[in-house]
C-alpha cells in the first residue's frame, strides 16, 4: 500500500537535542517505502525564503521527497513576492506554522498572504490547534478554492474539525495528532474518510505512531489506502 506522508521536515531542531537531519528522514521513509512532502526547518525557525531555497536545493533529485514551501507572516511584506508561482518553482503545497511562530489566524498579514495564494490552486497546510482556530480558518477558506489541510487536531478539538468539514468541502484534516481511539471512525461516520490526509511529523515525531493509528484502525483496506495516499493525490490531481 502506497504511503505518502504530507508532514515531514528536516534540518536543525533548536528546542532540544534530537536528530532531525535529512538523512534520518530518508532512512525512516525508506524503511516503510514511503514518499513524503517535506520542508527545511530553517524556513520555520529562521527565514522562510532561505528555508524554501534550502528545501528546493536539498530535495532536488530526490525521487520520493516533494518540496513544500512556507512563509512567516510576521515578516510581511518581506519576501511576499516569493509566493507568486510556487508550483512553477517546484512546490506541491505551502505550510504555515502559527502555533510555533506565535501568530494567530486573525493576523492581517496572513490575509495578505492568502490573497496571493488564491491565484493558484496550491494546497495550504496549516499547523495549528486551540479552540476557535479552525473556525477562523473556515471564514477565510470559504472565500477561496484552495484546499486547506489542517494539522493539529486531537481529541480535544476534533469536534471543531467535524463541524467545519461538514460545512466546507475544501477543508481536510491531517492525521498525525488524531489520537483518540476512534478518531478515524468518528470522522468517517460524521464527515467522510476522503477528508483525512496522512501526515506524521517525522523525524521529530514517531512515523510508526502515525502509521499505526491508520493501520490498526477498523477502516477497510481501501479506506486506509485513501488516507495514506489517494486522498492527497486526489487533491493534487496527480499520482505521485
Amino acid at each position: 500500500m502506497k504511503i505518502l506522508d504530507t508532514n515531514t521536515n528536516f534540518g536543525f531542531y533548536p528546542y532540544r537535542k534530537v536528530d532531525t537531519s535529512l538523512d534520518t528522514l530518508k532512512d525512516i521513509l525508506k524503511s516503510y517505502q514511503a514518499k513524503a512532502l517535506s520542508l527545511s526547518l530553517k524556513g520555520i525557525f529562521y527565514d522562510a525564503i532561505e528555508g524554501n531555497e534550502e528545501t528546493l536545493s536539498l530535495l532536488k533529485g530526490e525521487k520520493d521527497l516533494y518540496p513544500v514551501a512556507t512563509y512567516d507572516p510576521r515578516a510581511y511584506p518581506k519576501g511576499i513576492e516569493y509566493l507568486e508561482g510556487l508550483r512553477a518553482k517546484g512546490f506541491l503545497a505551502i505550510a504555515f506554522f502559527p502555533r510555533l511562530q506565535g501568530w494567530i489566524i486573525d493576523f492581517a498579514p496572513f490575509r495578505e498572504v492568502l490573497d496571493v495564494l488564491k491565484r493558484e490552486n496550491l494546497p495550504i497546510i496549516i499547523h495549528t490547534s486551540g479552540y476557535g482556530e479552525l473556525t477562523k480558518i473556515s471564514s477565510l477558506a470559504k472565500e477561496m478554492e484552495n484546499p486547506f489541510i489542517i494539522a493539529g487536531f486531537h481529541y480535544s478539538n476534533l469536534s471543531e474539525a467535524i463541524a467545519i468539514m461538514k460545512r466546507l468541502k475544501n477543508i481536510y484534516i491531517e492525521s498525525h495528532l488524531l489520537n483518540s481511539p476512534d478518531a478515524l471512525e468518528y470522522i468517517k461516520r460524521y464527515v467522510d474518510i476522503d477528508r483525512v490526509i496522512f501526515g506524521s511529523g517525522t523525524p521529530l515525531l514517531s512515523f510508526e505512531t502515525a502509521l499505526d493509528v491508520i493501520l490498526k484502525s477498523t477502516l477497510s483496506e481501501d479506506e486506509k489506502e485513501k488516507v495514506l495516499s489517494k486522498n492527497f493525490e486526489g487533491i493534487l490531481g496527480v499520482e505521485l
Binding site: 532540544r16 481529541y155 480535544s156 469536534s159 483518540s180 481511539p181 515525531l205 510508526e208 499505526d212 490498526k216
Partner: protein
C-alpha cells in the same frame, strides 16, 4: 503482549464515543493488551467517590481490568476512608492523583498526608505530571517516601526531557510516555536516562489510542528483549511488589 498501566473508564467531553465494557474489550483484543489498569474519568474531573464506585463495578466485567482509586486531597478524610473501603479489593492496585484537576499540588501537606497514611501498603501511585515544577515536587515525595512506588504519568508532558533528568536519581519513580505528541525519541531517551527497568507502557486509553503509544515504542529501535521490558515485564514486577516476572 502488553500491559497498559494508564487507562480510564468513563466519558470524556470530546468528539468520541463513550467506551463501555464491550468496546473496551474489543480494543484490548485488537491491540493485544492483556491487562489494563483504569481510573475513573468521573472521579478525576468531578466526584471521586461516585467515580470510584462505578469503577469498582466496571472492574468486575473482565479479568484483564484492574484499577486505581482516584483521590481528591481537598477531601482528605474522605480520601482516606475511600482507600480503607477498597483496600482489600484485589483488583485495586493503586492510587491515582491528578494535581491539575484537584488543584492540590504534590507538595501540599494533604497530598503528603495521604501518601504517608498508606505508605506501608502494596499500593502504587500513578501521578499525572505536567511540567518541571511538578516533576520536582514528585522527587520530594519520592525522597520522603522511598518505599512508595510512583509512576510519573506522561513523563512530565511537554518538558519530558528535562523531567527525566530531574527524576533519574529516584529509583522509586517510574516513567510512562503517553502524550498527545508522539515524540520519536521519548521512549529511547527515557530508557537511556532512567534505565530500562523504570520505563512502563501506558497510553491514557480511552482518551488516547493505544496504537499511538505502541508506535512510540516501535520507532525507538529497541531489541525484542527491550520491548518485553517496556510492554509488560516492568509492569508485572511493579505490580507484584518488586518480584521479577
Amino acid at each position: 503482549m502488553i500491559i497498559d498501566i494508564h487507562c480510564h473508564y468513563g466519558s470524556w467531553p470530546f468528539a468520541m464515543d463513550n467506551f463501555g465494557v464491550d468496546k473496551i474489550k474489543e480494543y484490548l483484543d485488537r491491540l493485544n493488551i492483556v491487562k489494563a489498569i483504569f481510573s475513573s474519568s468521573k472521579a478525576i474531573v468531578y466526584d471521586f467517590r461516585e467515580g470510584n464506585r462505578e469503577l469498582i463495578e466496571f472492574l468486575k466485567a473482565d479479568d484483564r481490568f484492574y484499577g486505581y482509586l482516584v483521590l481528591n486531597p481537598n477531601y482528605l478524610k474522605e480520601s482516606i476512608e475511600e482507600v480503607n473501603r477498597y483496600l482489600d479489593n484485589e483488583k485495586i492496585v493503586g492510587i491515582k492523583l491528578h494535581p491539575a484537576y484537584s488543584r492540590v499540588s504534590l507538595d501540599d501537606e494533604r497530598t503528603k498526608n495521604i501518601i504517608e497514611h498508606f505508605s506501608g501498603t502494596r499500593l502504587i501511585y500513578l501521578i499525572h505530571t505536567w511540567g518541571v515544577p511538578m516533576a520536582v515536587q514528585l522527587t520530594k515525595l519520592a525522597g520522603q517516601f522511598p518505599k512508595v512506588r510512583f509512576i510519573m504519568g506522561h513523563t512530565g508532558g511537554d518538558t519530558w526531557y528535562d523531567c527525566l533528568d530531574i527524576v533519574k536519581w529516584y529509583p522509586n519513580i517510574y516513567v510512562e510516555p503517553c502524550s498527545s505528541y508522539a515524540d520519536r525519541d521519548k521512549v529511547r531517551m527515557s530508557i537511556d536516562t532512567v534505565g530500562i527497568e523504570r520505563v512502563l507502557f501506558g497510553t491514557d486509553f480511552t482518551l488516547i489510542n493505544p496504537a499511538f503509544v505502541i508506535g512510540m515504542v516501535e520507532c525507538s529501535g529497541l531489541t525484542e528483549e527491550e520491548k518485553v521490558f517496556i510492554y509488560y515485564k516492568n509492569s508485572i514486577k511493579l505490580l507484584e511488589g518488586g518480584k521479577d516476572a
